[in-house]
């Protein structure tokens, strides 16, 4: 009669032990780094505040893009690697509209209307690309083995990237600057907050709330959720699966198009590969929150943004690492690795499935 401990021991492999060791070492490193940084007191509270605001702004953009990954994963159980190009296509196209507004001084005289138009153009293009992507690349593979649509997604990602390179060229294009977003607002005691960060956070929150309500409250939103759970049962209720999957790509695309403009406003430039890194980050955010879980994507995005902006200073600076901020991408991907090792279901993922098992 084996004891509980013996049975437990049998299930543990050498890989598990190595993984735990790595995880534990990282945890010690992070805690030690944080203590050293805080003891050195190199950063003022104002600077920490800035980190948080920048992190939240960046994180809300990730959250919007992550929503697209998670929605599509929900209905198709695949990672749409071409979503980063959906994210790029909108703002890149809208750049030409923005540049026209800038040249014709409309941007100066009617900044808000111009901004709205830029958003509409970007969201329309991203939505259209997402819609066509599903129709052309993924739908014919609906019943293919799972690896095939995944590889197709990577192919579609490159195809779109180079299609837009062919259309708009290889160069970086400087996005016009909206004067209304330049500068900062003074709060109190020397605290300042960037106008563009405030705008990004609020705009992203608005889109997220709208999306969430759409998914939770509307008839079509319920159809999307039921298709995510059980396609056959949904079709037995009269849900058109094809149409619902299209809707999923459309809302994911619209969110990515909005996120793309916010990204372009913050970084003030666009180019054909601009989707690549934020795409992987948003995917990381979706996995962090629990892929397939909509609130999880929002949470994952915000957390990742915060980790990226606070992390380098907090975890690394204490070790006197030169230019820690350049390691922010490493931190993001480390998060991905850690989540995959220790909590593959993400923070909010599939709790119900675990309970059922």
């Amino acid at each position: 009669m084996p004891t509980k401990f013996q049975r437990w021991k049998e299930r543990i492999t050498a890989t598990d032990i190595v993984m735990w060791f790595i995880g534990f070492a990282l945890l010690v490193f992070i805690i030690l780094g944080s203590i050293l940084t805080l003891r050195a007191g190199r950063y003022t509270p104002v600077q920490w505040f800035d980190f948080v605001i920048y992190g939240l702004a960046q994180g809300s953009i990730y959250a919007l893009v992550a929503m697209g990954y998670t929605l599509v994963y929900g209905v198709l159980r695949m990672i749409n690697f071409a979503h980063s190009e959906v994210f790029m296509s909108g703002p890149f196209t809208a750049y030409y509209v923005a540049a026209y507004f800038y040249r014709s001084s409309l941007l100066e005289s009617h900044p808000v209307i111009c901004l709205i138009i830029v958003f509409i153009v970007s969201m329309t293009i991203s939505t259209l690309i997402a819609f066509l992507l599903e129709r052309i690349a993924y739908r014919p593979l609906r019943n293919a083995p799972r690896l095939i649509p995944l590889i197709t997604a990577i192919g579609a990602s490159f195809t779109l990237m180079y299609l837009f390179r062919g259309l708009y060229g290889t160069g970086f294009q400087a996005y016009p600057v909206w004067e209304i977003f330049s500068g900062k607002w003074a709060l109190f005691k020397g605290l300042e907050i960037g106008k563009i960060q405030v705008f990004v956070i609020f705009a992203a929150a608005l889109v997220m709330v709208a999306l969430y309500l759409f998914i939770q409250r509307t008839r079509i939103g319920k159809a999307v959720r039921s298709v995510s759970e059980d396609k056959e049962a949904a079709s037995l209720m009269g849900v058109d699966i094809d149409k619902t999957i299209s809707v999923t790509f459309i809302i994911g695309g619209a969110a990515a198009g909005a996120a793309g403009v916010l990204y372009a406003l913050v970084f003030k430039q666009v180019f054909f590969m601009m989707g690549f890194i934020p795409g992987i980050k948003a995917f990381t955010a979706a996995v962090l929150g629990g892929i397939g879980n909509i609130p999880g994507a929002m949470l994952g995005g915000l957390l990742l943004g915060l980790l990226e902006s606070i992390g380098p200073a907090l975890f690394l600076d204490g070790f006197n690492i030169a230019a820690p901020y350049q390691l922010k991408d490493a931190i993001a991907f480390l998060v991905l690795v850690l989540v995959l090792i220790f909590r593959p279901t993400g923070l909010l993922g599939e709790r119900l499935a675990v309970k059922k098992a």
């Binding site: 319920k222 759970e229 949904a234 209720m237 009269g238 849900v239 058109d240």
Partner: protein, 237 residues
Amino acid sequence: MALLEVKNINVYYGKIHALKDLSLNVDKGEIVTLIGANGAGKSTTLKTLSGILKPRSGSVQLEGDELTRYPAHQIVTRGMIHVPEGRRIFGRLTVQENLEMGAFTVKNEQLNRTNLTKVFDIFPRLKERRKQLGGTLSGGEQQMLAMGRAMMSNPKVLFLDEPSMGLAPVLVDSIFENVRQMHASGMTILLVEQNARIALQVASRGYVLQTGSIALADTAANLQTNEMVRKVYMGEA
């Protein structure tokens, strides 16, 4: 003419000939049962009627309308609903939302309210649990939800695939009591069961399915006394 008329359908899984020239019919207001052993093709029959599977030949007509040409989601609109084997409720949707999904094709709000009242009359438990996630319900409650959800589509015919599956005997009795109540509220039901004894108690007519074809068709009373049925499907020596 019967409400639902199935004529000579042939269904294949690749090379496997799962249904062979199967015919059956259901009249308005009836409970008809289709009994048969595991693997006989009962679920395949219902899946074909609800459009998940397409027959290679044969016809399925509801009030004379040929349904095999429609995809599954359009068949619901035309008045047939399928409560699949294993209930298949949406675990991450609330009970209320599950019922709303049942009414997905019904645009008439007045009708939805009437149907919801009917469902809650038969299944008061669902009313108590309407804010809970479907996945948190017990097996019996999930079966109730699956049946209530189907009623919300305001069907002309309702297909029930093995409602007794995986339930304790006490629960089986109460689920079949619910089936009677659904029938009394005006539902026409095609009931698929392995549990022939209880199925023949609620049905008025029955078909016996053997490896993809109908072996027997008779009134429930006659089938209950049939030698072969008693032996093979009710486990009597």
